[in-house]
Amino acid sequence: MNWLTNKVLPKFRQLTTKQDTPDNLWVKCPDCGQMLFHNDLQANQNVCAHCDYHLRISPVERFEALFDEAKYDLIELPEVPVDPLKFRDSKRYTERLKDARHKTGDIDAMKVAHGKMNGNAAVIAVQNFDFMGGSLGLAVGEAIVAASKLAILQKAPLILFSAAGGARMQEGILSLMQMPRTTVAIQRLKENRLPFIVVLTDPTTGGVTASYAMLGDIQIAEPGALICFAGPRVIEETIRETLPDGFQRAEFLLEHGMLDMVVHRKDMRETLCRIIDLLGTKLKLPPAVMKNSDKKTVAKPSVAKEESAAASSSKK
């Protein structure tokens, strides 16, 4: 049932919503304006073949592109209080939630999965901008807490893809409290010496950038992603100046020392696999997994692995 609701249903919805209008066969690149054939675009991980513009991509597509053989398990996320403030603006918050759930087929704006990346266990959390702007509220906070717990349990790195307009205003102060809350979750991970890798995607702004999304051991961004605390419009209104070209884009942040690297989507899996490998998570793999990988490996690597496994077990 879980597999049905979490995996099959959203995919099914995506297919149906994408295909029910004929003009969805072609997508116009928001950057260069080229018309892109839907299937080509999908095969290219939603990156424009002409200008390399990175269009948004769903959490499921990310999981499939990142995990070994596109195999992974979604975890069921803990329930959180719904509409704790009984918030209503021009519309009830519960209505907005319902709409977003219908649109995405998801419960809230973050999905968490675990699987293997180049043989190493990994937990990946993906924030979905299509769900109420990816906004950080109780549910996303809880998802990060759960992802951190899972990573600790599996002695695996946590890779988090951020995308959000900021905090979920409809949850008021409780959304603000997710900033310290998620920080605690990340601290627990770090105290277990497990890598926390953040991939900032377009857009990552506000309270999300100002908490977990800037606390990675390694900070990666997708090309062209808007990454900021205060959004460009807020700044323009405050200082009444037009902003420089490329301001707050991934490349700008890289230049200003806020990121380790900007990575093209086609290179993302390889880069992440290499990083978690280099950071040495193999040493921390649970014994059962060790045995499995020993079976199929040959000569040199297996010796190294056995040595390291012996070293880690003798410590205990």
Partner: protein, 318 residues
């Protein structure tokens, strides 16, 4: 008190009349004296009545009142031998955040807070209490120092938020706030945060991830300003009153949501009417909370603080 808020107009009128009569009074006219006494009574009553049922939007106005207690008032009254420390050791000294060491009721402490300033000159100098990354990096440095020397940390928050500017973004405003929260949740000394006026968003929580969060009765603490929320969700800033109510920004609401730990009562008519009395009450509350924290093990203080934030807004499960 010359700075009246719009909803205080009846009180302002009464006080105007009192002043008028006082001008007429030459010490001999008993009737005028009686009238003045009556009007004073009436004005006080009106003030009590008005402040007993302030709306969230009115509280927002009170929280932003120009005569609210400032960090400089607090350090002058509560911190002996206050010794400000400057700079983030990387780029600059941000005067929107003032910090240093001193003695609070006999105990050596580290103080960090936002400063809005009192007049045009000092407001500009302190950037209206809106900090840049250097401010949050100075705060981190001072928190680490407090941890190193086992000194309790007292923070005071009155800010509309972190400064939204080009330079601030270039130098990593988001990272500076994120690290400030991280350090707050990492130190192993008692940490007490007090929301004095406005607790504006990430710029406030950067200094308020503490063991105890106290809040003045008319202060506000929110994820975004009511105007900002209205502009986004209602598409017009004119709906700020509705937004203030919907977002639950008052101390009374936040205590119910267990986001804050204690409300500090203000003098009749708000802290701005009697700043020394308000600060004294705040000092008493901080002293009580601090006394309950200082005996605890360093590791316990940190773990308690973390658990407290993990528990906020979670479904009951123990």
């Amino acid at each position: 008190m010359n700075n009246f808020l719009d909803f205080e107009k009846p009180i302002a009128d009464l006080e105007g009349k009192i002043r008028e009569l006082e001008g007429l009074e030459d010490g001999s006219d008993i009737e005028i004296k009686e009238d003045i006494a009556k009007l004073r009574q009436k004005a006080l009553h009106q003030l009590e009545q008005t402040y007993a049922k302030l709306t969230p939007w009115q509280k927002t106005q009170v929280a932003r009142h120009v005569d609210r207690p400032k960090l400089s008032d607090i350090t002058a009254q509560l911190i002996e031998e206050f010794t400000p420390l400057a700079g983030d050791r990387a780029f600059a000294d941000d005067k929107a955040i003032v910090g240093g060491m001193g003695r609070f009721r006999g105990r050596s402490v580290v103080v960090i807070g936002t400063e809005k300033g009192k007049d045009t000159e000092s407001r500009l100098r302190h950037n209206f209490g809106m900090a840049r990354p250097e401010g949050y990096r100075k705060a981190q440095r001072l928190m680490r120092m407090a941890d190193h020397f086992s000194l309790p940390i007292l923070t005071f928050i009155d800010t509309s938020g972190a400064y939204p500017g080009i330079g601030a973004e270039e130098r990593g405003q988001a990272e500076a706030i994120a690290r400030s929260i991280e350090v707050s949740l990492d130190v192993r000394v008692p940490m007490i945060a007090s929301i004095v006026g406005e607790g504006g968003s990430g710029g406030a929580v950067a200094l308020a991830s503490a063991n105890r969060v106290l809040m003045f009765a008319n202060a506000i603490y929110s994820v975004i300003s009511p105007e900002g929320c209205a502009a986004i969700l209602w598409k017009t800033r004119d709906k700020a009153q509705e937004a203030a109510t919907a977002m639950k920004v008052t101390a009374q609401d936040l205590l119910k949501l267990k986001v804050i730990d204690r409300i500090v009562d203000e003098p009749v008519g708000g802290a701005q009417r009697d700043v020394p009395a308000a600060i004294n009450a705040l000092g008493d509350a901080i002293e009580e909370e601090l006394t309950s924290l200082v005996g605890k093990e360093p590791g316990e203080l940190r773990e308690e603080r973390r658990r407290k934030f993990l528990a906020i807004g979670r479904l009951e499960e123990g």
